[in-house]
Symmetry: C2
Subunit: 201 residues, 2 copies
Amino acid sequence: MQSSPLLENLIESLRCLPGVGPKSAQRMAYHLLQRNRSGGMELARSLTAAMSQIGHCQHCRTFTEEDSCNICNNPRRQSSGLLCVVEQPSDIQAIEQTGQFSGRYFVLMGHLSPLDGIGPKEIGLDLLHKRLQNEKFTEVILATNPTVEGDATANYIAELCVEQGIKVSRIAHGIPVGGELEMVDGTTLTHSFLGRREIHY
Amino acid sequence: MQSSPLLENLIESLRCLPGVGPKSAQRMAYHLLQRNRSGGMELARSLTAAMSQIGHCQHCRTFTEEDSCNICNNPRRQSSGLLCVVEQPSDIQAIEQTGQFSGRYFVLMGHLSPLDGIGPKEIGLDLLHKRLQNEKFTEVILATNPTVEGDATANYIAELCVEQGIKVSRIAHGIPVGGELEMVDGTTLTHSFLGRREIHY
Ligand SMILES: [Zn+2]
Ligand SMILES: [Zn+2]
């Protein structure tokens, strides 16, 4: 029994966060109430703004509240000619932290999975196709996860690039097979960028 | 570099939660954006309501949005004659889960710590003193943490009880010395309740 319905609601609501069970939800609620109410209010405002205003970039599909994201808007990145294709917005963050890449991205928000009804359209490949036709890319780097689905998705996109006569490569060395790109350390990810190999057909 | 300022704000704000570092804050933000926006909005509402409306019970000082908390309002608990003194609201929750106690509580919101300027008034002992005079308690159970400060605080309150001729006991068996009441498992806490000893002066 909690001493108040609002406290019960707060503890219950905190459990929507991944990795937060009943014990930690309770600890979080008490912590905010006792020591950091202004932090709690600030978190509420950030959540409301993010959940209601963040959509997808019209160029790369990553999360942004604008039509076009910070990365796509950057002129230095526009002139690089490199496009890196990833599965998730969090993969961008992991790659950015290596400091090895200063081109643009394309975020699939998933991977091909025909059995689940996820085809080329669902992962934005019509948009990617248009970009490959309309913009001048010198190289497309395929950084999907090294899983069966990630590899199949990379192969599919590689064919699109080859059709357009664009050089295409797959990041390679160091990523454990079956692993998640997001979880790999920076050094491994750096190696996999430097060791990328062009795909020839 | 994040793709959006609102996303950066959200990740930064999530770090006000205890135990949440940069990596898990990022994972939480992406999870909510991709899979549970309604959960994120609900959490924002719960936070706002809790942070702005929850105050302290006028009887026991625990968290509540009413003048008087759910536990103090319960007639069965009012008639029990038992009062359990704890340091934190989270200690109530731990004791409730043992199912061994059905009396009322008094929450100090800390312990005596003269060097930090925390004297009897700061932990509500004037209010406790009035309650000991005005209500008919058959026993006061001191469940402060088994630390130097918790013991000193318990001794101080024991004297108040003895002055009023009220039986007073200290929970005892099983709690590791130097430990935190909140972290103890239910069985240990049950033992320490059953094995409580009256304090004689
Ligand atoms: Zn973009
Ligand atoms: Zn109360």
